[in-house]
Symmetry: C4
Subunit: 190 residues, 4 copies
């Protein structure tokens, strides 16, 4: 099977996930800047989650760029990734509503962790088709960035119960880590 | 007519159906794990319905993979399928809200049944174009999995009024039946 | 400019329009069939509007099938059509909520009328590029079905204030008129 | 990297943004034209924002039409543009709900300004790949329309606090400026 429809379906789902989160930001009834204040934490979590979905879309794009065929396992591994990403609006909304309290912040980290794990599984299924010596196999062999992210998410979940804002800061650091372009990947793909 | 736009439109509709169901999971106001409890049945029905939409997307993908042209009848048979699938969020939400009571569980099965029937009709319309001896005609001639699913859905609808959780369990079994890869189909398509 | 992105964008917008209408059908709190009763008119309007959006998607598909280039005017004529179609969920919801009262039913007809007019404008812009003797110019020269529909919508708007259900019936007749395949178009396109 | 998926993802996000704004127009409970009156300002802001998203989609279409490759920087500049556009429904809703009061109108202008700036950044990133002497480099060298728009948005933000409806009128003027086809661009692209 060609990758076309898997990419199109994933694009659709990611486009919706990234956009419906903004629906959580209800326009306040009053018309002054003060009325916007309660929306601020919701806005900040929206920014963080927008960046995360953007990162996943970028990674998904890079991954499927390098392959040309999928099988049933890849389709389900991809749906598994989309499932965890589809929970972002819920955890984003819960964390934003409760102004970064411990449990919502920990759950936010759990879903980030499970999405990262799902991405690793997807990469694994893709490499099984393409072979370990394929372009994609070589790029993802020493998958440092994903592993560091997973470790930091786990740290963030624990730290949520000690010093919550530090956990949010860690999630932010991981996001920044991914925005910085990985010269190595860009070079080997182009 | 080429299949491109029918696939793109279906991908869009399925991407929205699979994603808006998560909107039913409203973030609770409190910030403890206990506040999440009432969302649990909604979450479980979400998982079940996500898997079902995923299955339909997979099957749709496989079906259109094997054909290259559509006519007016296929377009309407496809819209008919999308219509029944578009009712999933409603029945999912009703079943989840009412913690798996009899009537919502039966209605959930009815919509599953009607969607499966719509898929059979779509396959029938496709085979009318491609011919009974085409690749797709041979694969779907002995359409055992669809027929077993339809029988199990009908059983589930009845059982909803006797022992509701068993009906939910039957719907789950059908889903698992479809996730297990059908070697026969994968072989003949590739 | 190629038609690819205009089709993709239109598919996206139509997929969302057709799907968000189902969001108006809120799952009732009770779990018996009686609790579903108030949703019935909303469901019936949903079916009617789903069919209408399906018809527009089909017509849009047929129209763009026959052309290969678009210009700025076509892009805006297309956005104009999408604008009126985007009001379907609003008028559908208003008519459904008020159980087919006069004014909502008339407004529903107005939007149907304006969408049909927008489609005529889009066809006109397309023919200006392709020429009156092109395939698409010949098909749409004697544009009987669109003209009859427009006349019936206008009739329906007036009749809404005399005998409302007859107006709904007229809208239904127009829809059926479009589902019946137009052999002439199918032949000349294939 | 090819531009295909960036276009598809952007189409998806823009299709959702343009459509979810209509969800703010809740169908009123009563069935007379008077019941529609409170929805009028919401409707008017919807029209304005629909036109704006339409303009951005058109410009995005023209821009990507002229290029064939993207890099990591373009992907993020594109996501940045989509982020600001994704805030349109929020500011549209806030302005519509409050019947064009000063602060919501100023914020509406701010987001228009930031989206225009994001578009300039995207063009800049694209030209860095294509080169200043490329087709796209020459078209956007003397980027008068974008610069005038940005100046008018800034004026509109200030005027919101003096005479609010004039600010709304300025936003309208900028929109009309963009709908008028730019013969120069159309010629050089085709």
């Amino acid at each position: 099977m060609k990758t076309g429809r898997t990419e199109a379906f994933s694009d659709g789902v990611l486009a919706i996930i990234i956009t419906i989160m903004v629906l959580e930001m209800k326009a306040p009834d009053g018309a002054s800047f003060n009325n916007l204040k309660p929306s601020l934490p919701v806005f900040l979590t929206y920014v963080l989650s927008f960046v995360y979905v953007g990162i996943y879309w970028n990674n998904h794009h890079h991954l499927f760029q390098a392959i040309s065929n999928v099988n049933g396992k890849v389709l389900w591994a991809n749906l598994n990734l989309l499932f965890w990403l589809s929970l972002f609006p819920f955890t984003t909304s819960w964390m934003g509503k409760n102004h970064f309290e411990s449990t919502p912040t920990a759950l936010y980290g759990c879903i980030l962790f499970l999405a990262a794990l799902a991405f690793k599984i997807l990469v694994y299924c893709v490499i099984k088709i393409e072979g370990a010596n394929s372009k994609i196999g070589i790029i993802y062999k020493s998958d440092k960035r994903v592993n560091i992210s997973i470790a930091l998410y786990l740290a963030g979940i624990g730290i949520s119960y000690i010093y919550t804002l530090l956990a949010v800061f860690i999630y932010l650091i991981v996001a920044i880590l991914w925005i910085i372009p990985d010269k190595r990947i860009e070079k080997s793909i182009h």
